[in-house]
């Protein structure tokens, strides 16, 4: 710690920071543009000027940029000195010379950092009376709107897009007063993290196109702290609603998880919530093919009767449903008749991951910690497409070793431009072995493409290199050299990280990754091990049951069960269609609770409208084993409600039937002691600040008395939320609520997202009171032996082609794929193969190839990928036609007969 004097008042601040960060951390208002807590300092905008004095006798001092000055003990600065104030006001005036006077029609207006800083600087009268320089805007794809005239040349966008996310199709063009930020030519911004520009840009240059379609000012939105449901990482988000539709997703800072950034799937993939395919009311299908709407009470009564009459009811849960919803289903069906709604293959994989997390003794880092590792080996995962946000963290970690050079030169961590100058794009030890070239390969020192079995063998060999006691596998020459290179680099590192996952459906690959991590730990390394999992609550679900879908089917086939309740699950995405068809033919009464109409719902006798994350509250467990609470955003005006609330109507247990969320969690943790931490994921419904609830709406929320006036002139009573300390209105505590309950970031003078500064213990650090979420699993001891299940070497088979799944950030996830803005980005289903295989099969690009997978014929256009080594082909995972395939599948393959 150091003591610095700001306007003669002493403050304790952290060493090693810059003065801007220090000033903001102690709660000072100091204007800035180019500095960003994750992108650090370049001193480009000159907006953070302060006066720095040599010592207490120095009365003149000199103007310095606070973001470029290190904290030093006894440093004396002034923010309030008239010269400093004048400098900042004049600087902003000149930055804004070309800025249009269009706040009223700007999407950023009301939550604009430029507005905030302008007011803060005291520059409140615009004197420039001449013609302004104007630009043409570009089409940037379905996510972002471009309005270049508003640019103040802070360079944050390029520093995020090109330097931080390492995107290539964006840049800064021209010079002097004509600088332009955009693409070489209009077109879709390709980087998977492009949406962060909405929050990174301090002005209205990049704004959210999805919000623009149904535009609402920040102060008119109803918000809730939520968790992204679009992959297994569980990034923290703010979800916002008005007039019954979800309007946007923003990043919700969590210092342990996503920090300041989320991926585009999470940000723009929410519109399924507003989709035409939403189920709005209870439905009954009897006789088959004839649907009728049911009143809520009638539906409950009828289903209750069926349950009473049934011989045995089984429950099929889901990795995309909350712990609470799965738990209520378990209570309804009984533990022994509750099944994870995933295939045996997938359930075993995740069980294995859990087993390793619990017993390997190797730490699984949070996303934030991931950025502290200095060598990485990715085994089999196409991270950018299976767990997108992780890829962004890995990119940062890959820069750690090159950064050492800058450290040796005593360049501070925050001195971004200087660090870049030193490392000159040098790559750190990131290695990727995957079945195809991935979107992260450009950051890697070396990559290797091979069949999943060969990748597992390679990883086993790497472990053996690190510790000869681990099982070894024979490798082809090229792989051998790669394995040695990887092993040497991991051993040379201080903190090596191993990344693998379930995406290739290979248990031996998961084991091989554990071997590498355990061997490194044994070698005295501070090793880390990260597994990605398929869905938002894959981990939570498998912490609740060992039973899987095929066993549920068995219950029906054996005639023991005659009623099935399926929760938030389309079984056609879990097992091949013929098996699911067969199951439904015999299943007896079928009740489906889900938010979206799908093939499984078509077989139901009763369908109940379940809430998505936006209409429900609950808890999910991410890949790291972190339990995180998400809260309902708004009360829909139909019968939609949380799955667990629907199920309450059918459980016998009194403690559950009328319980609120806390009571459900209480029962849940009694049944599963390992889930105890779920209780601490967020304060309970009784929590108050003083006597006040936390409002979901900002205090400036408007239109409340008018918005329903066309239905009834007297304002209806606002809905109540028995499940959380959040209110559905603007009344309540105005101030900083506990971090897990923060529905939006706002602070006096700070209307933009950068108000988050005021919610952190120190800027860019932990949220006040601790980051939300509780880790449920810690690596204790190490009771695991090395795994030995080395798969046999892969041999191509020209009659039974191995089909390996390819992943797409836009398309592979079930629900986000239904969102309109994403659909433009989803590629058509294809079959990819190596040039040599294509030639051997006489397949041309674009030609239709015929596949035959478990009796089903599929014709797909051919794509030739030079990165494929051959012997296997790729087909995207998660498209309707391929969602139920149990990868790795085999198929015959031939050109389509004309």
């Amino acid at each position: 710690m150091a003591t610095i004097y700001i306007d003669n008042v002493p403050y304790e601040v952290k060493d090693g920071e810059n003065l801007l960060q220090a000033c903001l951390s102690v709660g000072k208002n100091l204007t800035y543009f180019c500095w960003h807590p994750a992108l650090h300092s370049v001193g480009a905008c000159r907006q953070c000027a302060v006066i720095r004095y040599r010592d207490e006798n120095d009365t003149r001092g000199r103007i310095v940029m606070a973001c470029m000055e290190p904290v030093a003990d006894q440093a004396r600065i002034s923010i309030d000195a008239p010269e400093a104030k004048k400098f900042r006001a004049q600087n902003i005036e000149s930055l804004m010379i070309n800025h249009p006077h269009d706040c009223p029609v700007c999407d950023e207006g009301g939550e604009c950092h430029l507005q905030d800083m302008t007011v803060m600087s005291g520059h409140n009268y615009r004197r420039y009376r001449f013609k302004k320089r104007t630009h043409l805007n570009q089409y940037l794809g379905p996510f972002l709107h471009h309005e270049m005239n508003r640019c103040i040349q802070c360079y944050r966008c390029v520093r995020f897009y090109n330097d931080y996310a390492e995107g290539k199709d964006f840049g800064v063009f021209a010079a002097h007063d004509d600088v332009y930020f955009g693409r070489y030519e209009p077109g879709v911004l390709e980087n998977e993290f492009s949406g962060n520009l909405v929050e990174v840009c301090p002005t209205g240059v990049f704004t959210d196109k999805t919000l623009r379609k149904r535009y609402t000012r920040k102060w008119d939105l109803t918000n809730a702290p939520s968790i992204c449901h679009q992959c297994g990482l569980g990034c923290n988000i703010i979800a916002s609603e008005r007039y019954g539709s979800l309007r946007r997703i923003l990043n919700r800072y969590n210092g342990d998880v996503n920090g300041y950034f989320i991926c585009d799937r999470g940000r723009f993939g929410y519109e399924y919530v507003n989709s035409q395919r939403r189920i709005q009311h209870a439905l009954k299908q009897e006789p088959a093919g004839q649907w009728q709407g049911l009143k809520k009470d009638t539906a409950i009564r009828e289903i209750r009767n069926r349950i009473r009459a049934a011989k045995r009811v089984i429950g099929i849960g889901s990795p995309r449903a909350s712990l609470e919803s799965n738990f209520l289903l378990r209570e309804l069906a009984g533990a022994e008749h509750f099944y994870a709604g995933v295939s045996e293959k997938e359930s075993r994989l995740i069980k294995e991951v859990l087993h390793i997390l619990r017993h390997s003794g190797v730490r699984t880092p949070s996303l934030k910690e991931t950025e502290t590792y200095d060598a990485i080996f990715v085994i089999g995962e196409d991270v950018t497409n299976t767990a997108p946000r992780l890829a962004l963290s890995l990119r940062q970690a890959a820069k750690n070793q090159p950064k050492e050079k800058a450290k040796a030169l005593k360049i501070a961590d925050w001195n971004d431009a200087a660090i870049r100058e030193v490392i000159q794009g040098q790559k750190g030890p990131l290695f990727i072995a995957a079945p195809y070239a991935t979107r992260l390969d450009d950051a890697a020192l070396a990559t290797h493409q091979a069949h999943p079995d060969e990748i597992a063998r390679l990883a086993f060999a790497v472990a053996h290199h690190v510790d000869a006691a681990a099982a070894d596998a024979e490798l082809p020459e090229k792989a051998k050299a790669f394995a040695r290179q990887v092993a040497d680099a991991l051993v040379a590192a201080k903190k090596p990280l191993i990344v693998a996952g379930t995406s290739l459906y290979s248990p031996s690959l998961i084991h091989a990754a554990a071997n590498v991590a355990m061997a490194l730990k044994k070698a005295g390394k501070e090793a880390g091990l990260t597994y990605t999992v398929p869905e938002v609550n894959s981990m939570g679900l498998m912490m609740m049951t060992d039973q899987y879908l095929e066993q549920a089917f068995e219950q029906v086939y054996s005639g023991q069960a005659d009623m099935v309740i399926v929760v938030e699950n389309d079984l056609y995405r879990r097992l091949p269609a013929d098996q699911v068809d067969e199951f439904f033919r015999k299943a007896g009464t079928v009740v489906v609770l889900d938010s979206i109409a799908h093939r499984t719902g078509e077989h139901a006798h009763f369908v109940l409208p379940a809430g998505t994350f936006a209409e429900s509250s609950g808890t999910v467990v991410n890949n790291e084993g972190r339990a995180q609470r998400f809260f309902q955003v708004y009360q829909p005006r139909n019968d939609i409600q949380s799955t667990w609330k629907w199920l309450q109507a059918f459980v016998e247990k009194e403690q559950l039937a009328a319980a609120n969320l806390d009571d459900v969690i209480q029962q849940l943790t009694m049944a599963y002691p390992e889930l105890e931490g779920v209780r601490e994921a967020a304060p309970g419904a009784q929590f108050r600040v003083g006597t006040q609830k936390i409002p979901r709406e900002p205090h400036r929320y408007s239109g409340r008395t008018a918005m329903l006036a066309h239905i009834n002139v007297s304002e209806p009573k606002p809905p109540e939320d028995p499940d959380s300390p959040l209110s559905f209105t603007m009344e309540g505590y105005v101030g900083t609520p506990p971090a897990p309950l923060t529905p939006f970031f706002w602070s006096p003078g700070w209307n933009s997202v950068q108000a988050v500064n005021r919610y952190q213990q120190e800027v860019g650090g932990m949220l006040r009171g601790g980051n939300p979420g509780r880790r449920l699993i810690e690596a204790n001891g190490s009771s695991l032996q090395y795994f030995t299940d080395i798969p046999a070497a892969f041999h191509p088979d020209n009659f039974h082609w191995n089909i390996v799944p390819a992943y797409h950030i836009f398309g592979s996830d079930e629900l986000s794929a239904l969102s309109e803005p994403l659909q433009e980005r989803i590629p058509a289903l294809y079959l990819a193969l190596s040039p040599a295989d294509a030639q051997a099969l006489q397949l041309q690009p674009g030609q239709q190839a015929e596949l035959n997978v478990s009796g089903q014929t599929l014709r797909l256009p051919v794509v030739i990928r030079p990165d494929l080594p051959g012997g296997y082909v790729l087909v995207p995972k998660g498209w309707e036609a391929t969602a139920g395939w149990l990868f790795p599948v085999q198929s015959s393959l031939k050109p389509m007969q004309v």
């Binding site: 290539k168 840049g171 021209a174 010079a175 070489y184 030519e185 000159q424």
Partner: protein, 161 residues
Amino acid sequence: MDTQTQRILTDDMIAEIRDMYQHFPVKKAACIEALKLIQKHHRWVSDQAVQELAEVLDMSPDEIDSVATFYNLIFRKPVGRHVILICDSVSCWIMGYEKIADYLKQKLGIQFGETTPDGRFTLIPICCLGTCDRAPAMFIDEDLHRDLTVEQIDAILERYP
């Protein structure tokens, strides 16, 4: 007109560019030199040239264009056979460059940034040429002309057919 099939970077030019980056740890380092080379052959750098160069240097067109548009002597629009760069910085201003510039504009019938309809001259202002002691000054192509007076201009221009 089919511009796609006609490549701007000839094999010789590519070989020359390869030669340039051989001396650097990264290919990118040859970017400016390569742009100058393209300009030497084609007088300006077209979109197509940017794309072709991007492939040769393993850069994105965006990265190339960031560099190309930053430097005022890399031309991203067609220029005439001869480019007149007339200094408009302080010494030349004191010494009356404006008269020269006005004369040029009037004689050629173009404004700054424009090219004569016959494609012969492009007129561009430029900052200090480092020859303040002999102001006003201008460059035409690679030749420096100093101590300019309006009277000399016709004769100077004659030399650039």
